[in-house]
């Protein structure tokens, strides 16, 4: 059985499923866990993880992305790019209606973008290069950019740019609009009811624009606050789907051994969470590149993957996850090599100065990981003091640069211009904020490479630039990259075809069906 689970992980059983060429069956109800309960369901205003997971099946974006992050048609059925890479023309699908029966047109697209610029921080950044947006007719939208922007086709995912019904939101106060609590989208499922603290119920959209889909009749998103209770709910058959991160890691092996249970790490390619240790480049021993390199050699990352993450994920090679565009494995390597780490520390003149380490207060797994890394570093002669904090306290310390080593993980959003550069360019050294360049790494060459890379054309040029940037960064070790994380989705095997896209469960119920 464990072998089969492993195989399932490797093949990402969601991806392999279509190859089996089973005819989808219609009907059935699926119970899934949603954790934690979302603060709201209006995807254009609230972008928490759980909101994206539920509402990604109610709303739609112009494009969808396959696991290779290639754009697929969604509300836009086709698109074209001009020669100078500055004009993008989208042809919208005809005959699409909102859940209330009104037709979806180009006017909705224009309105949505105007609204998102005010309500959605990441969409605002993504749209910064857009000069103007026009709708020559009801089913065509034309984006004109100020300058070519390589990752442009990567910003139309439902969570990044959901389409909002203009006729319900125009001229209203968006934050208090009554439809925020009963969202109206174009998606395969319609919002039906939300019993706070208990469940969110979605029902099939009978007029969905892709004929025959969705296959399921209803989805119940069960809200179960306790991690152990969520595991038990799966074991007892109350729920059929445990999305990534909804149970503790150590429960994954036990649950995946249950009968008729499928596990996959797929469905996170768009986010590609990458974990690393912030290393404070400003002060103390860590200001020396050799000490930072020693840390990379000293940490047994395979152990972390196999033991702490139960074999899920992948050892990171550098600032880009392997699923991100222009990723290269052709960078300096840091295998587990304590002897080399010791030699580097000696060379750098490190004499056991105390180094403060902040683990991430996200529960068991991260606490254990902190202990393992501490032991690894102590084994090569470093003096590590673990500082215990909660999430808010840790964020504050990191934002104030009051740390030496700190655990974190960040989403990468498919393109180095969207999710990688932000952590290494010196213009992003802003005190008081987390998730920017808090390590204080400053290298004019890297600044220039990321600035050029975002707007370079054609693709081959971007590839060249980003590969160069990766090599420089991996040599300099501004942060210590740990693992490409995978949050396993655990399902009853009878739930087929749930994970087919780069955002997995977030928009996966469109294609999912139940084998009864």
């Amino acid at each position: 059985m464990p072998k089969r689970v492993l195989l399932g992980l490797l093949l990402a059983c969601g991806l392999a499923a279509p190859a089996l060429a089973q005819e989808p069956k219609t009907g059935g109800v699926v119970n899934a866990v949603i954790q934690p309960e979302p603060p709201g369901l209006m995807l254009a205003i609230v972008q928490n993880g759980p909101t994206q997971m539920v509402s990604g099946n109610v709303f739609e974006g112009l494009l969808r992305y396959n696991p290779k992050l290639e754009p697929q048609p969604e509300l836009a059925e086709s698109w074209s790019v001009s020669e100078d890479a500055k004009t993008y023309t989208f042809k919208l699908r005809k005959g699409v209606t909102w859940h209330d029966g009104k037709p979806f047109t180009a006017a909705d697209v224009l309105f949505s973008i105007e609204m998102l610029k005010q309500t959605h921080a990441r969409a605002r950044t993504n749209l910064a290069q857009v000069d103007k947006i026009e709708a020559p007719d009801d089913h065509t939208v034309v984006f004109t950019l100020k300058q070519p922007f390589g990752p442009f086709l990567g910003i139309f995912e439902v969570g990044s740019m959901p389409m909002v019904p203009k006729h319900l939101y125009e001229g209203t106060d968006w934050k208090t609009n009554a439809y925020n609590n009963a969202p109206i989208g174009t998606g395969p499922f319609m919002f039906k009811e939300w019993q706070k603290g208990s469940f969110i119920r979605l029902v099939k959209n009978p007029n969905y624009h892709e004929k025959g889909k969705p296959y399921l009749d209803e989805i119940y998103w069960q809200i179960i606050p306790d991690a152990a209770a969520r595991s038990v709910a799966f074991e007892t058959g109350k729920v059929d789907v445990l999305p990534g991160g909804s149970v503790e890691n150590f429960d994954v092996p036990r649950l995946s051994k249950l009968k008729d249970t499928c596990v996959t790490g797929a469905g996170w390619e768009f986010f590609s969470p990458l974990s690393w240790l912030w290393l404070n480049n400003r002060q103390g021993p860590l200001a020396d590149k050799r000490v930072r390199q020693a840390i990379m050699y000293a940490i047994d990352r395979d152990f972390a993957k196999d033991v702490i993450w139960n074999g899920l994920g992948k050892v990171a090679t550098g600032p880009s996850a392997s699923t991100i565009k222009y990723y290269t494995a052709d960078v300096p390597k840091y295998p587990y090599d304590p002897a080399k780490a010791k030699a580097l520390l000696k060379e750098a003149g490190y004499k056991g100065e105390k180094i403060r380490m902040l683990p991430l207060a996200y529960g068991e797994t991260w606490q254990r990981w902190g202990e393992a890394v501490k032991q690894n570093l102590q084994d090569v002669g470093m003096t590590i003091e673990t500082i215990a904090t909660d999430v808010a306290g840790g964020n504050q310390k990191i934002g104030d640069w009051d740390y030496d080593i700190a655990f974190t993980y960040l989403y990468q959003y498919g393109d180095p211009a969207l999710g990688v550069g932000r952590n290494y360019i010196s213009s992003n050294i802003v005190k008081g904020q987390v998730f920017n360049n808090v390590e204080g790494y400053s290298n004019p060459e890297i600044d220039k490479l990321f600035a050029d890379g975002a707007v370079a054309t054609p693709d081959s040029k971007r590839k060249e630039i980003y590969e160069k940037a990766q090599k420089i960064l991996v040599e300099d070790v501004p942060v210590a990259w740990m693992l490409e994380l995978q949050f396993p989705t655990i399902t009853r095997c009878k739930v087929k075809n749930l994970i087919t896209t780069a955002i997995g469960v977030n928009d996966g119920f469109k294609d999912a069906w139940l084998d009864k």
């Binding site: 150590f250 036990r254 033991v307 683990p359 606490q367 254990r368 902190g370 393992a372 215990a388």
Partner: protein, 279 residues
């Protein structure tokens, strides 16, 4: 003194308690010499069941760390926290109680209201809050345990002093013009000591439990291994690996039991009425 040991060794519970305590102390003192490896070191494959390998007799935890080594190093932390925080609590509680009982009146009122202020707050909740505010470390843990456990000492000492205060030998000392501090230290406190010693032995047990509870909740010193931490860390995998929680749990149980037995033995030995009845 001979008398004391004689009656102490007569009570079976006292003997058992003493043996357990001596065992725990020697493990805490000499154990780390026998196991020089850090208990945090990953030595074997994770979740190795107990009694399968002689090098890791009690198995390994979720990261492959030696449970036995953890228990030995944990003994050090648990006993140290128990003893030191009790000592601190005595240092705070005894003078406050003695002054309140001896001087009476307004001093008594003020000190006892101050004591009651601490007694009205649930002690464990207060300890959690203190550790959370001060950041978990061995110092903040000792300080917060001491802070929540001194009020009973103060009240006990006050009661004893109040009754001793009216004895003839104390009044004689007052008449001969001895200073207040001399009277308290030389005449009253030595005679009030027996119940305090009994209480102290029970406080050590309580302190060990408090430290374990704090560590169990993740508020232990992250740089030191303790029994409570081991129970807390193993709790979530108890269905897969019972031994990670059970062995340190048993260690807590036995050492707390031992201290309680000592308390009982001390009570028997130090209580003049009880010991006279025995003879």
């Amino acid at each position: 003194m001979k008398q004391f040991w004689k009656s102490m060794l007569k009570s079976p519970s006292g003997v058992i308690g003493l043996i357990i305590l001596l065992l725990a102390i020697s493990v805490a003192l000499f154990g780390p010499m026998l196991f020089p490896n850090s208990p945090w070191r990953m030595v074997q494959r994770p979740f190795l069941p107990p009694f399968t390998l002689s090098t890791v007799p009690l198995g390994t935890d979720a990261l492959g760390r030696d449970v036995f080594a953890g228990m030995i190093f944990g003994a050090r932390v648990s006993l140290l926290v128990g003893l030191v925080s009790t000592l601190v609590a005595l240092v705070v509680g005894v003078p406050i109680g003695a002054m309140a009982g001896y001087f009476g009146g307004k001093v008594d009122d003020a000190l006892m209201r101050f004591t009651e202020f601490f007694q009205t707050i649930p002690s464990f909740a207060l300890a959690i809050v203190l550790v959370a505010i001060l950041q978990p470390s061995i110092y903040s843990i000792v300080a917060s345990i001491a802070l929540v456990s001194w009020p009973p000492v103060a009240r006990l000492v006050r009661g004893e002093v109040l009754s001793l205060r009216t004895r003839e030998y104390v009044q004689a000392a007052v008449v001969t013009g001895q200073s207040n501090s001399w009277i308290i230290l030389r005449e009253i406190l030595p005679n009030a000591l027996s119940p305090v010693i009994v209480l102290a032995s029970l406080m050590v047990a309580t302190a060990i439990l408090l430290e374990s509870s704090l560590s169990f909740l993740g508020l232990g010193d992250p740089n030191l291994i303790s029994w409570g931490y081991m129970v807390g860390a193993g709790r979530t995998v108890i269905r897969q690996a019972w031994w990670i929680t059970v062995f340190p749990g048993v260690a807590i149980l036995i050492s707390v039991l031992g201290l309680n037995l000592i308390g009982e033995g001390l009570n028997d030995a130090l209580n003049p009425r009880l010991s006279r009845e025995g003879r």
